[in-house]
């Protein structure tokens, strides 16, 4: 289980060497090598994350948190991961402006998702204040 870090580091080193080798002649394919490396590492990590998410969900059910809130949090985490991945790829390719637009889109979507929670908080505050 913990030994996978050696696997991932080795994978990253080999992919870095290949990307540097390809960068002189075919920069676009070097970008693909780095994208696929990132994909493989993220997929390796994602399957580990699944058990943590299940535990969190179980805990939320045990303490009777509304399922809307916990699923919103999961959605926000997923959107953050995906947006981070896309913006890193664009930044690798040298397209900094597209990367920052992807980050902006992620922030806006997260804000839209967070509005119901904010409204619930506001309702609670209004109901407490006489």
């Amino acid at each position: 289980m913990q030994m996978e870090i050696f696997q991932i580091v080795g994978l990253g080193l080999i992919a870095a060497v290949l990307a540097v080798l390809l960068k002189q002649h075919r920069p676009e394919i070097a970008l693909h090598v780095s994208v696929v490396t990132g994909l493989i590492i993220i997929m390796l990590i994602m399957f580990k994350l699944a058990s943590v998410l299940e535990a969190l969900q179980g805990m939320a059910q045990r303490i009777n948190v509304d399922t809307v809130y916990i699923s919103t949090i999961f959605k926000i985490v997923g959107i953050a991961y995906i947006a981070e991945f896309g913006s890193q790829v664009c930044r690798d390719a040298g397209e900094t402006s597209i990367a920052s637009k992807i980050e902006l889109a992620g922030k806006v979507i997260i804000m839209v998702l967070a509005v119901p929670i904010l409204m619930a908080l506001l309702d609670l505050i209004i109901s407490i204040v006489p």
Binding site: H32, V36, M43, L53, F74
Partner: protein, 65 residues
């Protein structure tokens, strides 16, 4: 989701680079361009499938529908 994909893509890249050099040296610039384009398309096809796999995994895991 296997590591072989990295080596596959790097092999396509090296092959395309070599073919490109040979074709440019023999004076067939258009064909060299076509080889480069074909390499990009082949690699893109492989990468797009993996990206879609990642998106589906994240979607099911974080309940993003």
């Amino acid at each position: 989701m296997d590591v072989n994909m990295i080596f596959k893509i790097a092999a396509v890249g090296i092959l395309v680079a070599v073919l490109n050099q040979v074709l440019v040296r023999t004076g067939r610039e258009e064909q060299a361009m076509m080889v480069a384009l074909a390499g990009i398309v082949i690699v893109l096809m492989m990468v797009i499938k993996m990206i879609s796999d990642l998106f589906n995994t994240v979607r099911t895991m974080f309940q993003l529908y």
